[in-house]
Each structure stands twice: as structure tokens, then as C-alpha cells.
Symmetry: C2
Subunit: 548 residues, 2 copies
């Protein structure tokens, strides 16, 4: 890769480049923990140590781009000066409207997406704090390149020393919008300190190193890409970006580009292992999975290809992953089913996280006392988190912030049990919880163990006797779809029978509906692409149910 | 290992153990960065995630000890309560006088070393802040075990929740005494924040993971073991300790105990590769080298055994390693000599460090301006550092502190050149620098490339014409010692001739003296063992020279 790369003249650092910043006023034994923002030490160190290493590649487009760390750092510096020239000042927010890599123009919208601005309810310069490093462009002569080049001229070669350091590590960093699977979007404001430590957490947990190549399948706008944009730079790894999720292209990079790491929701993982190009890999790739628990079948399929699944759990409010399901040495002796059951659990706190716990719901909105549920694997409570990789606040929403931090812990809204070994297992989003006869009964994992099932989602449907009962929406595997095409009722009976062998009666679905695909959340910051985050949009399923 | 381990009753955590701490008063999105001190999150998380994993082993003694993370954490908790019971309060300092592992009694002196107390100029409770986690003991019924057991009783099973968190991450952590190679010892006070980030830096740089086994060859008292005691716990690795540096034992563990990492000065590395038990290893071991640059010969010997040398540089004032000589991908194509020359350089800042730079000396003691030397690989200046892994202060020595932080950077006292690729190379300790005709000329690395030389150290000797000229003290390799036994003059001529092929004339030694061994610094905190830190004590050589 990368032989045809010709950076613009302004993308080349000067021969005597210095990566030193002005630090006047800071105590000599402290520097603010910052992974990004103008200027950010991760990229400066990477450029100082590995100036000629391939930092980021966007190969699969008409004008491929390949930037070394030195060139990338220079482009980021140009961008910083360009923004200053354009009148952007500390505290301003700059919108980023772009796929993982893009033909962008300032400020900062991909031309192919510019039609969205008119329809977006979110005005420009409010969306996201500047994520400089994803702002890159290979095509010469376009408005974005002109913008960067003007920044270089405006800098008058003052370089990094001419850019101020943000001294407050608790200052706001990125503003990401989260919809969850329900409710209206909220702006999650994170900090520089939190981003620094969450990124390092991901490096350590993922064992990302300068030998690593990370493939961007996860959208960068999804909780700021779980801090992986900075994690990879901290580790001096190489990043490959794609404009959209394209399974044949993913396999091309798996096989030809030395990919070692990627992240994705289970729906994306299912797409990967079921692509016709899928085959056993010559070396192990680490796949970080979040958003839902991987099933035994998916784990088996991934492992057969040489992909090692790592199950993590978190929210936009926790910079992405906050807990990890740590596999234990003795798991090696277990059967796949036993192992999958353990791996489906959400786990324990990350290396740089602090507490994750499961507590009984508060008595009322003034109840600040936290009462842990017993670690019995049965009692359901809410997952609470605290520590450096919890967000600062919901942007301009003090009431939602107050509510989210009741008892000085972040309330995830996710319901879970706590196992005797300290491992947390989410039973479902509390908002999606189905109560049938007073019991928690939403177990899509168990349903998807049926060999004909590709994907499944379960929502509540009102029931005359039980209040609510589960209804399953199922996508069949292509090779089995024909068999049930004209016999939906037969498959429903078959699936409920299968469920009864695995689950108590109250947990089995009352109704089963076959669908061609499950509706997927497309709205995080802005509609960008189908399956962009891979989170199943249960609100849409509920609308279907409401009409039944 | 570890089959005969029976922890005391009080070392076993309760069945419902909780690793949660009281965090009242802390903001929900911040927790203090702390790697240790009472209580410290690294060990709590390791015990929560891997309770039954072997955390630390001290196998080669009459009563071997093997502690799992759960047991170790419990013992540390017992220790905390025992100290509270004994009247120790925040701000008190507790002495630690012990080898890397020991039969200790409170407070806290190894019985075999207790005679030192009478002769030590340093009174108890002043030496070192409590390093709880190294306080361990296998022998039942001894005073240390009784002390811990009493702590458990005193705790009344209040557990971790009964111990307060230190909310200030910039509070003092460890007090380590440094002598350098000259001068009187100074107490280096580090912080919790710095220890946390330095430890993570070592994990990332060393790629230490839960699969790793770290062998303690480096003394833990040497700059707090370069933060490796915490780094290994952060990574959930296994640590093996030895009472002293014992080369056959080191090879036993290399071959039989799955060792993956260790640290040591070049003198220790030389001892390792020249031990009769040395042989090619079945898997690569990572050896972190600091204190002096490894020679081409040493690098070659290590690599032949399957030991991968990593050259780092730092001081007690920087928690140990601050820079690393990052090998570049294209080095693979170089000859050993070319590579060794590049690897001998001290490198660039660590992942969690900030700036390391080389500046001209200040004009006077009020000169706060920093003037970088040109990156030409020739101009000599002083190495300055700043950032989170620089010490807080010299303990009770504001004048030394002020002087060390002139210009708001830490002054290492080490002289170096700055290469065009941004890499720093120390030419020698400024205090040891020999000026001959106005030139820097101390190049022991070049001298030790002679095939008959095992070790060499160079000091200044007064010279009628040049002021000072270099005198080399040389230890010959055993296999070549006989040849030169009665012909010291012949070897001196031979070595000077060899030096002239590699060095400019001013840099060649004027005199060569053969010795059986080089004097090694034994005084860091206290005299403990010969070759305890492996730093050659040039003051002793100067005394020899002064009498000539």
C-alpha cells in the first residue's frame, strides 16, 4: 500500500521540525492528560519517534491517501492554524459531518453528505469538538486541501510552539450524541483526561502496539470510535479507514493488509463471518465486540476464521468500553457452549476504569444511597459506573445530568445481575425490559442458538393476562430461509419449542415473526449509512408491535 | 511452583470479599490516579479479575511463598490495618529495609539486616513511604506474620471499604534516596499520579500482560524498582523475587519458570550472558537495560541467547525510565555494529512521559531561559525533562529542588548530544565528564568493543599538558586474562591501538589499568548486597587515580 502517495507541499514538515510545545505556567512535574485537542501529545510523540511510519491509510477510493506520522502531524497543525484564522476560539464547537474518512470541506462536511445539513435539526458549530486527526484528505486542489494549505501559510512557520496547550485536563473534549435504543438524543460531553485514560485502557486491554494495524469498521462517530483513534496513535499503530462497512473489502484487508485489530457490534461480526470471502486467516485478528453479547454460534464462527473475540461493554457516556469479560485460564478446558455462556457476560472494570457495580433502583429521585444487589447471578439491578472514564455531563442539560449521576455514580440505565465471581451480566436495557408475571424474561441470546437463526431481537407486546409477553423478530440464515418461506407458523412453533429446552416458560417468546432484516439505529450524530452502528432499533420494532 | 503454599488463615479473604472503596466526596467522573498507597486500585482490580492467579512467588528459600492476587490483596489490607493499629497516620513515613523479598519484621527490617540500623545514618520512619505490596512473608509464626494477623483482627472485617482513599493524586508517594555516582544522597519524593502513569508507561513500552512473568533482578529499592512492582500488578502479571542477584538461579528461572521480562544494568547483563548456565532460550525474554548503554558485544551475546535488549534511560528523579531507544523498522537490515551504535543512544520520551530535551547550560543560577542545542549529534548540552513522570521534589531540600528545576524543567545533570532524528545520546554524567583540550572524550563503549575486554570504566586523571586525560580501568574476559597476566603494558598498548582505530586521538585513553573487578555502587538507600544496583562507583576509581 501507499506507493502512489504524494502529500501536498504544505503537508510536509519543515526539515528542522520541533514537536515541543509551549508549557509556560505549568508545574514541571505535571502535564495535562490530553490525547487530542490542539495540540495533543500522542500524535506529537508518534511523529517524533516514528516520523516515516504509515499512520493512516484510506486506500479504497479514487484518490487513495497514505499519511506518515510526520505528514499527518503537519496536516493537523495546518488545520489548527486554519481554524484560528477562520475565527474559531477556545470553547467554540466545530461540527464534523463525515464518514470514517472523507472528501470533506470545511466546516466540516463531506460534500456527499451536505444535503443533510438542511434537514438536520442540529446546527453547525454545535455538534462536536474538533477531532482534528480524522480531518484528512488526499485529493489535491479540493476546498479542504486549500483550507489546510492556507493554515500552513497563516502559521508563518511558528509550528507547534505557536499553539497553546489547554492547561485544564478536565476541560471538555468531544461532544457525541447518543440516542440509546430509545429516547431523544443527548450530547455526551467527555474530558481530555478521560479520553487520555480511556485510550490507554484500550491500548492495554487490546495489546495494541506499533506492530498493529487497526481496521476501521466501527464508525468513528460512535462514541468517538470508543477512543480508538487516539489509542492507535498512542500505540504508534497503523490505521486503515473505509468509507462504509463493506464485507468483501474487510476480507481483502484482513487477508492482504496485515490487519491485527478491529471493533464491531455482533450484527457486523455476523456479516463478516458470513461473507462469501470469509476463510481461515494466516494470523489471529483481535475483534472487540460490544453492543450485545456474542452468541456461541458467532464465537465459534469467529474462532474458526482465526478471529479472537473480546467482549466489552460500555456506553457513549463511558467513552465506549468500560468493562471487559476477562477470560480465565481454566476456560480453555470448557466446551464452546460453556465458554460462550461465560463470555456473554459483560465482565469487570477496565484497567483504567474504576468501579462498575449493580445496585437496587433508588427509592425516589432524592435517594442518594447505593444498595448493591447480592452477587448471586439472579437479582436484577442497574449498572452504575464511576471514575475517570465516565463522561463529564450531558451538554446543556443539567436536569438529565443530575438524574444520571444520582448517588455520585453514573446510571447506565442497563439492568444486570452480578455473579458470585464479580462479573456483571446485562439482562437487557431497562427501557426494553419485558416484565411478564413479574419476571425478567428477555433472552435473545438463547433464541439465536437455533441453527436456522441469523439474528433475533425481542420486544414486549401487550398481553391480556400477563401484561406483557415477549415477541421475537427473527432473520433466518439464507440457507434455511427457503424451507420456512411459506410456513412461518411452523418456524414459530419450532423456535418456541427450541426456546423451551433452554429457558423457563415465562422467558419463551409468545410470538415469533420472521423478517428480512432487523431495523438498525442509524441516528447517532447524523444519518450516515445503514448499519452504521449496528444497534438494533427496538423503537421501530415496538411500532410494528403496536400496530398488531 | 507453588504446590506447598499454605497461606495463614488471616491471609484468606472472606467469601463475600468486596474490592470497593469508599469514594464519598469525589466527583463521579474522576478518581485519583494512584498505583499504590492505601488502598491502591491496581491490586484491587487484579484481585477482583484474577483472584486465583499466581501474583508473586519467592521460591528459592527454606520457606517458599506463593501468593495469589486474592491472598496478596488480603495481606496488604491486613498490613494497612496493622499500621493504623500501630499508630501510623497519613504523612508518616515508614522505613523499608529489606531485599526484594524478605523475612521481615516490622517496622520494616529484615532480621538479617537489622545490624544495619545501628550503623545507618538514616533513622527509621524517615526512609520510604510505605510500599505495602513488597511486605510479604511466608514463614508462619514469625513476628511479621503475627503483625499482619493482628491487623486482620483489628480490621473487624470492615475490609477495603473501611480504608480511606487518598483524594490528592499529587500527594507524596515514595521517598527513594539517590546518590548518583557522586555526591551525598538526596531523598526523591514522587507522587501517586506520577507512579500511576510511569507504571502504565512501563507496561505499554514493555508490552507486559497477564501472560507475562517478571523476574526481579533489579533491586526494588532502586528508584522503587522503576515502578515495575506496580506495572506488573497493573498488567496482572506474575512476579518472581530473589533475595540477591544469583546468576545460576536466574538461568534456572529463565529456563524453567516461564520468565518473559526482567530489568538490569549492563554489568548484571554481562554477568547473565557469561554465566556457565547460559544457553539459547526456547522463547524470547525482554531485557530492559538502563544505567549505561549496552555494547555491541553485549547486544550480540544477549540476542544469541534469545534475550531482546531494550535500552532505556532515566534517573531516580524520573521514576526510572523516561526515554527509550526506539528501534526503527529499517534497523533490521543493518549490521550488528551499526545497530549497536544506534541502540547505544538514550532515545526519546516514553509513552506517558512528556519532553526530554538537550539545552545549553544556564548562564547563572537566575537564568530561566532554555536554549536547545542544535540537533547535530555533536553539540553537548544537559538533558532536561518535564511532565508527569518527573519527581515532585527533593525531600526537605528546597534549595536542591529549586536548583534542579531551574527553568521549570528537571535538570538531570547528564550531558548529551541531540541527533538529527530527535534521539538523545548521553555522552557521560556531567560530573564524570573528562575535558581534554576542551573536548568531550569519554567513550567506554568503544573501548569495550575490544574482544578481550569484559568491562571498562573511564575516569579523568590530571595531565600536565591537557589538564585531564582519560584513564581506563579494564576487567579482562576470563579466557583472555592469562595471556596478559604478566604483560599489563602490552595490553595497554594493544587497547590504545584498538581505541585509535575507532576514536579521535583526544578520546583515546592515556593510561590503561587492568583490575580484577570494578567497584560497584552499593549505596542507594542502604548497603544491601554487592552489585545491588550495578552502577560503577567512579568515586572509588578517582580515589585510586588520585593516589597515582
Amino acid at each position: 500500500m501507499g506507493t502512489d502517495f504524494q502529500p501536498t507541499r504544505e503537508s510536509t514538515p519543515p526539515p528542522n521540525v520541533s514537536y515541543q510545545q509551549s508549557v509556560l505556567g505549568l508545574a514541571p512535574n505535571v502535564h495535562p492528560l490530553k490525547s487530542h485537542k490542539n495540540p495533543f501529545p500522542f500524535i506529537l510523540r508518534a511523529a517524533a519517534v516514528y516520523p516515516d511510519k504509515l499512520a493512516i491509510a484510506h486506500p479504497d477510493v479514487k484518490h487513495p491517501a497514505f499519511y506518515t506520522y510526520a505528514v499527518w502531524a503537519q496536516r493537523i497543525q495546518n488545520m489548527a492554524y486554519a481554524l484560528i484564522q477562520a475565527g474559531i476560539r477556545p470553547g467554540d464547537r466545530v461540527a464534523v459531518i463525515t464518514p470514517n474518512w472523507s472528501h470533506t470541506f470545511w466546516n466540516i462536511v463531506d460534500p456527499n453528505l451536505s444535503s443533510l445539513i438542511a434537514t438536520s435539526r442540529i446546527s453547525l458549530r454545535i455538534l462536536i469538538f474538533l477531532r482534528l486527526f480524522v480531518m484528512t484528505q488526499a485529493e489535491l486542489g479540493d476546498p479542504y486541501e486549500s483550507f489546510l494549505s492556507a493554515g500552513r501559510v497563516f502559521s508563518a512557520e511558528k509550528g507547534w510552539a505557536g499553539l497553546d496547550v489547554e492547561p485544564d485536563e478536565n476541560a471538555g473534549a468531544v461532544l457525541c450524541y447518543t440516542s440509546g435504543t430509545t429516547g431523544r438524543p443527548k450530547g455526551v460531553l467527555t474530558t481530555l483526561r478521560g479520553s487520555y485514560l480511556a485510550a490507554i485502557g484500550n491500548v492495554v486491554e487490546g495489546q495494541i502496539s506499533r506492530e498493529s494495524t487497526y481496521l476501521w469498521i466501527l464508525p468513528m462517530f460512535h462514541a468517538a470510535g470508543w477512543t480508538y483513534p487516539w489509542a492507535n496513535v498512542f500505540a504508534c499503530a497503523t490505521q486503515i479507514t473505509m468509507r462504509s462497512v463493506d464485507y468483501p473489502l474487510i476480507w481483502k484487508h484482513f487477508l492482504d493488509s496485515g490487519v491485527t485489530h478491529y471493533c464491531g457490534a455482533p450484527t457486523v461480526q455476523i456479516g463478516i463471518v458470513n461473507d462469501p470471502a470469509a476463510r481461515p486467516l494466516p494470523r489471529t485478528i483481535s475483534a472487540v465486540i460490544a453492543g450485545a453479547a456474542p452468541t456461541a454460534h458467532l464465537i465459534s464462527q469467529l474462532e474458526q476464521k482465526g478471529i479472537k473475540p473480546v467482549h466489552v461493554y460500555g456506553l457513549t457516556e463511558t467513552y465506549g468500553p468500560f468493562t471487559r469479560c476477562y477470560d480465565q485460564p481454566h476456560w480453555k478446558t470448557l466446551t464452546l457452549e460453556q465458554r460462550a455462556k461465560l463470555m456473554a457476560r459483560q465482565g469487570q472494570s477496565f484497567a483504567t476504569a474504576q468501579d462498575a457495580r449493580v445496585v437496587y433502583p433508588p427509592q425516589d429521585e432524592n435517594d442518594e444511597e447505593l444498595r448493591d444487589v447480592p452477587k448471586d447471578g439472579r437479582t436484577v439491578g442497574e449498572v452504575l459506573m464511576r471514575g475517570n472514564i465516565v463522561m463529564k455531563e450531558y451538554f446543556r442539560d443539567p436536569e438529565a445530568t443530575r438524574k444520571a449521576f444520582q448517588g455520585r455514580h453514573f446510571h447506565s440505565g442497563d439492568l444486570a445481575v452480578w455473579h458470585p465471581d464479580g462479573v456483571i451480566q446485562v439482562v437487557d436495557r431497562s427501557k426494553d425490559l419485558i416484565i411478564s408475571g413479574g419476571e425478567v424474561n428477555n433472552y435473545p441470546c438463547e433464541l439465536s442458538s437455533h441453527p436456522h437463526v441469523l439474528e433475533v431481537s425481542v420486544v414486549a407486546r401487550s398481553h391480556p393476562k400477563w401484561g406483557e409477553r415477549p415477541m421475537a423478530f427473527v432473520v433466518l440464515r439464507p440457507e434455511h430461509a427457503a424451507k420456512w418461506k411459506d410456513n412461518h407458523g411452523g418456524f414459530a412453533t419450532e423456535l418456541i419449542r427450541h426456546a423451551r429446552t433452554l429457558l423457563p416458560g415465562f422467558a419463551c417468546p409468545e410470538w415469533v415473526q420472521m423478517v428480512d432484516e432487523l431495523p438498525v439505529s442509524q441516528m447517532h450524530n447524523i444519518h450516515i449509512s445503514k448499519t452504521s452502528t449496528g444497534k438494533i432499533l427496538k423503537t421501530n420494532l415496538r411500532k410494528v408491535v403496536a400496530k398488531l
